[in-house]
Symmetry: C2
Amino acid sequence: MPPHSGSDHPAIGIVGLTAWGLGLALTYARAGNNVLLLARESGEADELGERRSHRRLPGATLPDGVCVSVPERSRARELTALILAVPSQQMRENLRRLAPLLGRETAIVSAAKGLELETRLRMTQVIEEELNPGFSPAALSGPNLVPEIVAGLPAAAVLASEDPAVAARLQALLSTPRLRLYTSPDVAGVEIGGSLKNVIALAAGMCEGLGYGNNATAALITRGLAEIVRLGVCMGAEAQTFSGLSGLGDLMATCSSPLSRNHRAGKLLAEGLSVGEVERGIGEVVEGISTTAAAYELSREHCVDMPITEQLYCVLYRQLSPRKAALALLDRALTPELRS
Amino acid sequence: MPPHSGSDHPAIGIVGLTAWGLGLALTYARAGNNVLLLARESGEADELGERRSHRRLPGATLPDGVCVSVPERSRARELTALILAVPSQQMRENLRRLAPLLGRETAIVSAAKGLELETRLRMTQVIEEELNPGFSPAALSGPNLVPEIVAGLPAAAVLASEDPAVAARLQALLSTPRLRLYTSPDVAGVEIGGSLKNVIALAAGMCEGLGYGNNATAALITRGLAEIVRLGVCMGAEAQTFSGLSGLGDLMATCSSPLSRNHRAGKLLAEGLSVGEVERGIGEVVEGISTTAAAYELSREHCVDMPITEQLYCVLYRQLSPRKAALALLDRALTPELRS
């Protein structure tokens, strides 16, 4: 990574006009950085560059420090770090477009919380396949509800990289007074925790939407975290990573807040909306929907028992009624099979 | 334990007209059991026996299966199991009164979530000191918000006993279709998890009351569980117990529900109320207040770093302002010292 220059040239680039991409651009610009925010099309880049506001950032104005562009028009090659905040299923196509435009000196960070449906790969694995990065790619994950970040409330997240030197340099570059980062060498654990918590958030939202209370939902979430850990360990993660901010912490924020898209989506499923209607109702990608399919396939591949993921898979892809699924989910959650 | 007789004589006794004592009496009577509910004074026993309603059970009526009495007037000696649902600081005096009235065939179960302030003992340790029970005492703990239990919503909890045979027999006796129990041999872990989560719930309520969002609160709770585990392991508990219903599960329900007394108490502290005013405002014992003092002493005794417990202790007992404490708490929670 080149040293963070004192010039006007942005050291931090962000790809994606998602809520999180916009939120991160705001965060780093507010902390005094020049930020390069990369959109997919020049039309939307120009519009945002001029209007400085976006429907995914209600009430907020993009600070002057944010320069909006598209990859081909930008000086992406000179960035110290590039954060990818695109939907997981669009990660690969974004990387293919960026590949010829990036230098080997730029550290690549995934801020996407999902798995690639077709390959079931984690985002940093997709990055390694598509780019030839000079440094091991990093993952950024944690309890970061975007509306709270935009409102200036404090938060923390994990910056994971297999290379401790990269992790330390990214921690220094990407920590702000309002978004504290701590490092972890367990990239797999951080990415799996961040992705699979959305499956549990969908299930918890569904149970809540059906009128089960906090007691039953707490039992469900407890069992949900246990099944994430079971799969994660089979995929090479450390069990204790899931007790940290990117596992338990993110699950706690996602399941206790009406601001969470995945949690809201679960409630809409409970109301009888179809998957398509839910996605249209939320108005943004609901990562948990594709992650559920990927996690279901992974559970079969690794022979791991994941009853909550399985029931949710049947609701999303096999027309099982949410009420029947919730009864089965709670039945499992209320009689934990491993310990009774 | 004598076999559960088919006669009218109650097999299950419950001590304490606390919300949880009343909720348990209701639960077991609804499931078809005759229940002996023991009050402190004959006046209140007679009144409840006649009116069949209680201010701590809003909207609910005590089923006919519940017989209300006082220990000296009852046939407590013939009970199969006696559940103590009294405030933790009153456990010892209750046991001293009950001691001459109990037979060695009755299994004793603590449903209290706290530590004795003066001795820092867990409730089953107090039971062992005061009674000469024929069986190792058991602990019942989990995400069991009483208003939801009273409303008939499903829940699960852990029944812990060092003796697997006692645990299995109590599981069979005390499980109902709406309150599923699973067993654990880790009595210390279950009791410490159930007690100390109230400290974290107070801290989380305080941060929420001060306007910090779900991101920061999730970080705080994550660090809170980590400090409970650190102390618990020093006190002989198994780390993984805290990832189950009596640790993570209970913390999740307590911190995400406005029904939790300890969580509400934290919010009132944030509003500037004194400890006395908070207890009067809640109208029932707030276990987390005395547990914070016990946990603080234990952390010093075992040389365990418990920053959240320490800050809360200073608010409750050393006149530290909630805002200053919250800033220090979040500062610690947002930069986890063990991993950065």
